[in-house]
Amino acid sequence: MNDPEQQQQNDRSVVSVRTVEILVAVVFLFIAGVVIYDSTRIGFGWASDGPQAGYFPFYIGVLIAIASIANLVQVIFSPDLGRKAFVRREQFRSVLAVLIPMAIYIAAIYVVGIYVASVLFIAVFMRWLGRFGWTKIALVGLLVPFGLFLMFEVWFLVPLPKGPLEALFGF
């Protein structure tokens, strides 16, 4: 990382604020479209017994549309936002370094239950990003899920998702 050229490359903007602003405004517009479409489907007028189900959401959809168009116009007329970085490469890498393991972790909960997945998640995170020794990892990685187990399953009787390993112990 000491090579200045490489550092500059790492500091390069992944995407500008302007692009993301436009993207978010367009997503809002899309949501407005969905809300308005669905409200018209179920009816946004007046039935014999009062307002229909889409009555309130319809206007919400219209307001989202107005607000997002206003945002869009504002962004389009401020070109200097295009030079501002929304996220730089190095930052983006750090964000992904936690986002991707998190997604895998949540997928793993479906398969092996939350306790085993938590042990693995904490271990991978500490090893990969913190470069801790295995004793420390084992300490934190095992004690935290075990504490959760005691707190939820034993004291407060709230069951958490469990997998094959817990079934082996009869839970």
């Binding site: 604020v17 206003a70 949540i106 913190g130 709230v158």
Partner: protein, 506 residues
């Protein structure tokens, strides 16, 4: 004095041994939550909410509200010692708190922060004690149009008092309403925006949104900054506390102003964060040492802290009396009330006297307990922050996932939480405010119900919202708040016709 009597009964409820125990646990958990990045008042309470389902509502709310007080105290610790605001409302505390700590006066800064938060909260609780029963009595006569008008006022104040772009506030808020509408419509029994999926049937629970937006979003932001905690060591002993307390009375006017700003911003839901900035700005303009603000003035710590704590506390007033929370954390507490089977609103003061006054009494006690705990345990909390982020982050992620799962025992909610986390990250970076989104998500069904009932009463004519003096004045006030930025600009131009619109940099 009816209120004093009820309050004394409330102390009777709050001063039982288990409830005092819950108070201590709540304060300690709250400070921990306030200190840790990624866990804040709102999502901390949201995660712990499912654990209280089996407790008595009074004990549960005492513990949860104490978590809230604890989080308010805890935010100051990280701001002053580490220059990292643990909570958004303590950002303004870093301006003078951290320079003070760098000068070796961390103990004084912390004592000043805690003491002034305590004063702000105490005055706000006194306001609640005497104002809340009046508001509740008044609100007993509200019909659907009045309730909708108050909700309108709530949301208009967000737009008017918000610091960022008004259209972004509207967009975020309406997104909250739209998400609240997803699922079964309880009036007509029709499905809305589920698009034939079973998972969407339940709709979006705001607890999931809160945990994702504030918890996961914050973790992502912290990762991005590559946070390394470099803190100043602090020691607080009786001598420092005494020395600081002797200086504090000098700032009584600043504290009073901060408290008033805080109470106002808490009741009209501006929230603790803008309140703290506003109070800091006003103090800077009014103080004779204003020029020295930012270099380490005790007054610059007093101003935001009184306001933040007063706002955080008084946010509970509209929640209890009208069922309209003044802050995201108050919104989560409101969700708790509904889950425990209590209907927030004016009737609460009639039907659940013991609960309401027990809670108000616990606010007095909780803040006293909080002040003592926080003054005596600062070094421990500072030590927690020295634990590397690569240990804290995965543990917080695990806790968030567990919290999201336990709301409905549904794994899909955990996936949704991750989605909300990404949304929270993007919104924070683009200055889309999160608080109105959460509040709209909480109040969506209620606002829709009162709007529909009003429309039924008037057979679809919006004139019902100015059909009598009360509802018309609330709506008028709402419009005033909505267009406040424009009005304020006009007023400023009228008052200073020649000078260019130049304002001191805050």
């Amino acid at each position: 004095m009816d209120e004093i009597n009820s309050l004394m009964q409330g102390f009777g409820v709050a001063l039982t041994l288990p409830n005092i125990g819950f108070m201590f646990v709540g304060i300690l958990l709250g400070i921990l939550i306030g200190v840790l990045p990624g866990l804040g008042g709102a999502n901390g309470v949201a995660i712990l909410l499912p654990l209280t389902f089996s407790m008595s509502p009074t004990s549960a709310i005492i513990m949860l509200s104490c978590i809230y007080w604890g989080a308010l105290f805890g935010g100051a610790i990280t701001s002053i010692l580490f220059n990292i605001p643990g909570e958004p409302w303590s950002v303004a505390t870093t301006f003078d708190g951290y320079p003070l700590a760098q000068k070796g006066r961390a103990g004084e800064a912390l004592t000043a922060a805690f003491s002034s938060s305590f004063v702000g909260a105490l005055i706000a609780v006194i306001v609640i004690t005497f104002l809340a029963p009046l508001v509740a009595k008044f609100a007993l006569e509200f019909g659907p149009p009045e309730f909708f008008a108050v909700q309108l006022l709530t949301f208009c104040s967000f737009v008017g008092l918000g610091r960022g772009s008004a259209f972004k506030t509207v967009a975020a808020m309406m997104l909250g309403f739209a998400l609240a509408a997803v699922g079964l419509d309880t009036v007509t029994g029709q499905l809305r925006m589920t698009f034939g999926t079973v998972e969407m049937l339940r709709g979006f629970d705001f607890l999931i949104a809160v945990i994702g937006l504030f918890g996961i979003g914050e973790i992502l932001l912290t990762m991005e900054e590559g946070l390394e905690f470099k803190g100043v060591h602090a020691k607080i002993d009786a001598r420092v506390v005494w020395h600081t307390w002797k200086q504090l009375p000098r700032y009584w006017l600043t504290a009073l102003r901060g408290t008033l700003i805080g109470c106002w911003m808490g009741i009209t839901p501006g929230g603790a964060t803008p309140a703290s900035f506003m109070s800091y700005g006003v103090a800077k303009r009014m103080s004779k040492d204003g020029a020295k603000f930012g270099t380490g003035e005790l007054e610059g710590v007093v101003a935001p802290e009184t306001a933040a704590h007063a706002a955080g506390t008084s946010a509970l007033l509209p929640m209890l009396t009208l069922g309209i929370p003044g802050s995201p954390t108050a919104a989560v507490l409101l969700g708790g009330l509904l889950i425990w089977g209590l209907q927030p609103g004016p009737l609460l003061f009639v039907e659940q006297k013991e609960f309401v006054w027990g809670l108000i009494a616990s606010m007095y006690l909780g803040n006293i307990v909080g002040l003592i705990i926080v003054l005596t345990t600062v070094p421990w909390w500072a030590a927690i922050l020295r634990i590397p982020f690569s240990i804290i982050a995965p543990v917080i992620v695990v806790i968030c996932c567990v919290g999201a799962y336990t709301v409905h025992n549904a794994l899909f909610d955990v996936v949704l939480m991750l989605g909300f986390g990404v949304v929270g990250y993007v919104f924070k970076k683009l200055d889309y405010p999160l608080a109105p989104l959460v509040l709209a998500l909480v109040l969506g069904d209620m606002a829709e119900a009162s709007f529909r009932q009003s429309m039924l009463l008037s057979q679809g004519s919006v004139t019902i919202f100015w059909s009598n003096g009360l509802v018309a004045s609330i709506c008028g006030l709402a419009m005033l708040m909505l267009f406040w930025p424009v009005i304020a600009k006009l007023l400023l131009r009228l008052r200073t016709p020649k000078l260019p619109a130049e304002r001191p940099v805050e």
